[in-house]
Amino acid sequence: MKALKKGPDERLLIEAAQKAPARFAELYDGNFERVYAYVARRVQNRSDAEDLTAEVFHQALAKIAQFEWRGVPFSAWLYRIAANAIAARWQRAARERGSPVADDPPDSRARVNPEEVERTAQLFRLVKTLPDDQRRVIEMRFAEEKSTHEIARELHRTDGSIKQLQFRALTNLRAQFRTKAKKKASAKPSRKSGGRNG
């Protein structure tokens, strides 16, 4: 977690949201990808991930006044809410299946590694920094789960050009991702990042 930008800034945001709930939006913007990445790793499908992410933020908003700053990142609090929400959902599902004893969720033993979650969240955020056409292809391909052909039809392009855009986008992401990881790994400013391919 050392890689995360924490400390006074986040604390100020939390205090602002506690005073004026409308400021919660800033905490949401800063943590959405994290929570989503955390939840998505632990559930089977996209709709569960969305339901649970929504539940986490609604709970967090409702309880924001109770949050006490103890130097622990805000995301840790959100992960705890998420873990509880996932467990509750699993138990409910178990009851609905008629199982007298609620099992543990299948992957609850495989603890989610916060570093990994953070890396994934980072990647999600980087998608938004891509050039528009690349970003659109990545979103459609991964988030909207469309085929290259469907995307090509929708964007009035050839299949080949969509594949090219996808290739460039992933190359860009990888380059930026590596650069960021390096920046964070070493306290010193990094060398100039690798050039973009296309």
Binding site: D29, E33, H58, E139, G160, F167, T171, L173, R174
Partner: protein
């Protein structure tokens, strides 16, 4: 397999990653392998529209939370909206009469004012011409308006003069009101009544209520002045007459503890022994005199009605009274406590709960008797003084817990003696229309004479009796106002 270009190969890898939930397929190409790893991390990429929808959902909730929180700060306003016949003239009138300024005026094609707003020293008033066709009718059409407009201004007298000069008619002239305002009512030429008011004195609701009660009492007292001529001014049918030791000190005590006003005092020549004094507590007169060998002490028990029991109780104790029964809420509907003063009088300081107190109708000071058998005393009072029993709470064993009788315009409370509440014969001053007749009746009912009825130098005709229970009654009829009492 034919050699594919890297973007084709990568697309196939992405299909595999997206299809299965497994890891990226191996690829010999180092660069492709790295891109596949990125792609597998993107497998859970959230949908942009979900992110946006959730954000706006949360925002709606925070806006609601914020506005709910902010609601108390939002001041609701109520603005009179006047329907008038001749809105244009009305606006001119309000300018002349109240110094109004015109804020808005919207005119319909037919020339009628559809909406206008004026401002009177910061107060917003809306008005329009009447539109009877849509039920928006003026007082002139309806024959008056039941709603008055209350206008708070800094100088009611000046504004009232201005309004009358402009053509308003006086409904009620400006005067000081019991509720602490100085106000008057004026009707404008369009049928609206304006209560114009300037705040002078800040009062609690309780104080205002007290003033209303005072006023209605004065009015009812004034209502039948002819029939009350036999009662000396400022008195009522029954007045406690405290014949007690330390009379002068007691007056000071009553002033300090109960806010009594001294109205009259006559001392024995060459000394400060009080022969007769009159003090007023609230709306009630109390007479007192120093006890002597001819008139031994007859301290009285009284109920004292106050608005703040606890304060008055502590003030009484500080002023030298002995606590007798601490202040408590009583199940008979009042909060009260009892003290004994330095002269031996017992004061039950009480605040009646509104509505159902047993002390309903009591004045500021009402005598309270604890005879051994209340029904026997009530029977005597009926025979001797024409008393009327207005209330009796009696348990099946015959014990009277509380009873109330009315003589003339006054009440006497009583209850059978019990516990610390022993019989305390007292002296009462009773005004009746015919002192001679009542004196005779009292004797026939079993009282014994102290002094026969005779004209007194202070303008009363009076005599005295002792009732079978030891209470002394001075029975009087007021004949004339003495030039100087005493």
């Amino acid at each position: 397999m034919a050699k594919q270009n890297p973007s084709e190969q990568l697309d196939l890898i992405v299909d595999v990653i997206r299809g299965g939930r497994g890891t990226a397929p191996r690829s010999g190409d180092k660069k492709l392998a790295a891109l596949a790893e990125v792609a597998s991390n993107l497998r859970d990429l959230p949908r942009a529209d979900f992110r946006a929808r959730l954000r706006s959902g949360l925002e709606r909730r925070t806006t609601m939370a914020t506005s709910a929180k902010a609601a108390p700060e939002v001041r609701a306003t109520a603005t009179p909206y006047l329907s008038v016949r001749g809105a244009a003239e009305a606006i001119e009138f309000y300018k002349r009469a109240f110094g109004a300024t015109e804020v808005t005026r919207l005119v319909q094609p037919d020339g009628r004012i559809g909406h206008a707003e004026i401002n009177i020293d910061g107060a917003k008033i809306m008005l329009a011409d009447e539109f009877p066709e849509i039920g928006f009718s003026s007082p002139e059409s309806l024959g008056g308006s039941p709603v008055h407009i209350h206008l708070d201004v800094s100088d009611v007298d000046a504004l009232a003069r201005r309004a009358v000069a402009a053509g308003a008619t006086v409904v009620r002239p400006v005067e000081d009101q019991f509720y602490g305002d100085r106000s008057g009512q004026f009707r404008d030429p369009f049928g609206y009544t304006w209560a114009i008011s300037t705040h002078k004195e800040t009062l609690t609701t309780e104080e205002m209520q007290h003033r209303i009660d005072e006023m209605s009492r004065k009015q009812s007292d004034a209502a039948a002045p002819e029939s009350r001529k036999y009662i000396r001014e400022g008195f009522r049918s029954i007045t406690p007459y405290l014949v007690i030791p330390k009379a002068a000190e007691l007056i000071d005590f009553m002033k300090t503890a109960f806010g009594a006003e001294e109205h009259f005092r006559i001392a024995r020549p060459g000394g400060d022994v009080i022969m007769h004094a009159e003090v007023k507590i609230g709306d009630s007169m109390i007479e007192l005199a120093e006890a002597n060998s001819q008139f031994p002490p007859t301290p009285a028990a009284m109920v004292l009605h106050v608005s703040d029991v606890d304060t008055v109780y502590s003030r009484a104790v500080e002023a030298g009274a002995t606590p007798f029964q601490p202040v408590a809420d009583h199940d008979y509907g009042s909060r009260g406590g009892t003290v004994k003063d330095i002269s031996g009088n017992s004061w039950h300081i009480s605040k009646p709960a509104s509505g159902n107190s047993i002390f309903e109708g009591f004045r500021s000071v009402t005598p309270y008797l604890n005879p051994l058998r209340a029904p026997v005393m009530i029977e005597f009072l009926q025979k001797a003084f024409g008393a009327e029993e207005v209330y009796r709470a009696q348990s099946p064993d015959g014990v009277v817990h509380h009873a109330q009788v009315r003589i003339g315009d006054s009440l006497i409370g009583m209850g059978d003696a019990h516990g610390p509440y022993l019989p305390m014969p007292c002296t009462l001053h009773l005004y009746v229309p015919d002192a001679n007749a009542t004196y005779e009746r009292a004797l026939r009912a079993g009282a014994t004479s102290i002094q026969p009825v005779a004209d007194q130098p202070y303008g009363d005709r009076s005599g005295g009796v002792t009732d079978p229970f030891g209470n002394r009654w001075f029975i009087a009829t007021h004949i004339q106002n003495a030039p100087a009492a005493g």
